[in-house]
């Protein structure tokens, strides 16, 4: 039995397989509407995250399965102090697969150690959010056709932003990947990522706080939020936040086929005028998130794709 706890739990080969299945589902959703008939997904959300929960539940329903679960800790037995191990042992008798969101780092790993059913980490604190990372990869793969040979700009809070760290760790497994790190000097990527991932793998990268100058180089622009609480004083925040807001003016030198991604929700880091630009794919990304989760549920439940062969012909 397999679980998905960190974005790197899948080998590049398994990941290719998963993304290919997600792509087939995306192109022919109708065909998959009964493959999980009679199966149940437990969504165990120890903290609210409506968008992620609905994405998982929609995915299971699209496959013809059912969902059950809770959406915050106060409505669950955890409020009475039950351990994760005990909860998952019981849930294993009620459902066939589960998605767990938890405020504590490592909680889904604990669940997987005692579970009788596959566990999907739906976010553990600020630690891992593998289905977000896999969704990012699916979006790039579907819209660029390949995960190799890309220059990826990541912008915003690169110091604390775990989505960015996960994306970097996932993308360095592909060939000819370059990164452009765009952030205020205060929010540069952390040393361990620089040392253990980028330098260790000889991955080329540049760092800048000049957004516009690097724009023409990028195949992908991955935007994240610069949070007020990361700054010591209000003046610094106000001075810096506007330099890292994406608007049409900053996009004027960008490539015509560049993609703009964002894990959502956005606050003000992408001006709404950008939404109608064909390069803005962040809402499409949310849509891909459902197909990615559909494919993941099928893979973890070991349900073969009845249409895999057709595509090969």
């Amino acid at each position: 039995m397999k679980h998905l706890i960190t974005p790197l739990d899948l080998s590049v080969h398994e990941l290719d397989d998963l993304l290919a299945l997600a792509g087939r589902i995306y192109r022919n959703k109708e065909r998959y509407k009964k493959v999980c008939e009679g199966r149940k997904l437990a969504s165990l959300f120890y903290e609210p995250s409506t968008r992620t929960r609905l994405s998982f539940e929609a995915a299971m329903m699209n496959l013809g399965g059912n969902v059950l679960g809770f959406s915050s800790a106060d409505s669950s037995s955890v409020a009475k102090g039950e351990s994760i191990a005990d909860t998952i042992r019981v849930i294993s008798y009620y459902a066939d697969i589960c998605a767990m969101r938890h405020p504590k780092e490592g909680a889904p790993l604990v669940a997987s150690m005692y579970s009788g059913i596959p566990v999907i980490n739906a976010g553990d604190g600020g630690h891992n959010h593998p289905t977000q990372t896999l969704t990012d990869l699916l979006t790039i793969k579907e819209l660029k056709g390949d995960l190799n040979n890309l220059t990826i700009g990541v912008c915003g809070d690169l110091k604390f932003g775990r989505t960015v760290h996960s994306l970097i760790n996932a993308m360095v497994r592909y060939k000819n990947i370059k990164f452009v790190m765009i952030s205020p000097p205060e929010l540069k990527i952390p040393d361990y990522l620089r040392r253990e991932t980028l330098d260790a793998g000889n991955i080329p990268y540049t760092e800048t706080s000049d957004f516009e100058s690097v724009m023409p180089d990028l195949d992908i622009l991955y935007m994240t939020r610069v949070q007020r609480e990361r700054f010591f004083n209000e003046e610094d925040y106000i001075r810096l936040k506007d330099s890292f807001i994406l608007d049409n003016n900053k996009l004027k030198n960008a490539r015509k086929d560049m993609l703009i991604l964002h894990p959502l929700p956005r606050v003000n880091e992408i001006s709404t005028e950008v939404d109608s630009d064909p390069r803005a794919v962040y809402f499409k990304q949310a849509q891909y998130g459902v197909y990615l989760r559909m494919a993941l549920i099928m893979k973890l439940l070991e349900i073969p794709d009845p249409y895999q062969k057709e595509e090969l012909c």
Partner: protein, 144 residues
């Protein structure tokens, strides 16, 4: 030359950084074993200037390789019938359980409902002796 006088069978933990003996004493839970234990502080050392030494008498029931987590330059001298039969450095264990406690307040091990959970660290960087919590990846680097 190390004086092993009085130790017929047991282990001499040598080349402990000066001042580190008490930390090791507690770390290995030596207060809980029945054997007689001698601690020598600030012994002269050609190599280190000053060093600490711990002598434990009798058959050894504690896992001395755990010492590598703190300092792998320590020397373990195994003694039988008044002679040193084996001399070695402790080997870094791949995992350590309930020896190091995870101090990350966001880690699942800090939850009140998860008190029974083992604190497990995995060796992630042998060269730099770095361990990480298996749950939250919090780094631990042992130091005396």
């Amino acid at each position: 030359m190390l004086n092993i006088g009085g130790l017929h069978e047991g282990v001499v933990i040598d080349h402990i950084k000066a001042g580190g003996a008490m930390q090791i004493y507690h770390y290995l839970n030596l207060e809980k074993i029945d054997s007689s234990v001698a601690i020598i502080k600030n012994a002269k050392s050609n190599k280190m200037g000053k060093k600490d030494i711990i002598k434990i008498e009798g058959p050894i029931t504690v896992d001395l390789d755990l010492l590598a987590v703190l300092d792998d330059d320590i020397t373990l001298n195994y003694i039988e019938n008044d002679v040193i039969v084996k001399k070695r450095h402790p080997n870094l264990p791949e995992t350590v359980t309930n020896i190091i406690k995870c101090k990350n307040p966001r880690c699942v091990t800090s939850s009140s409902s998860e008190r029974g959970l083992a604190h497990t660290f995995k060796l992630t960087d042998r060269k730099h002796r770095i361990y990480r919590c298996i749950y939250c990846e919090q780094k631990f680097k042992g130091q005396l």
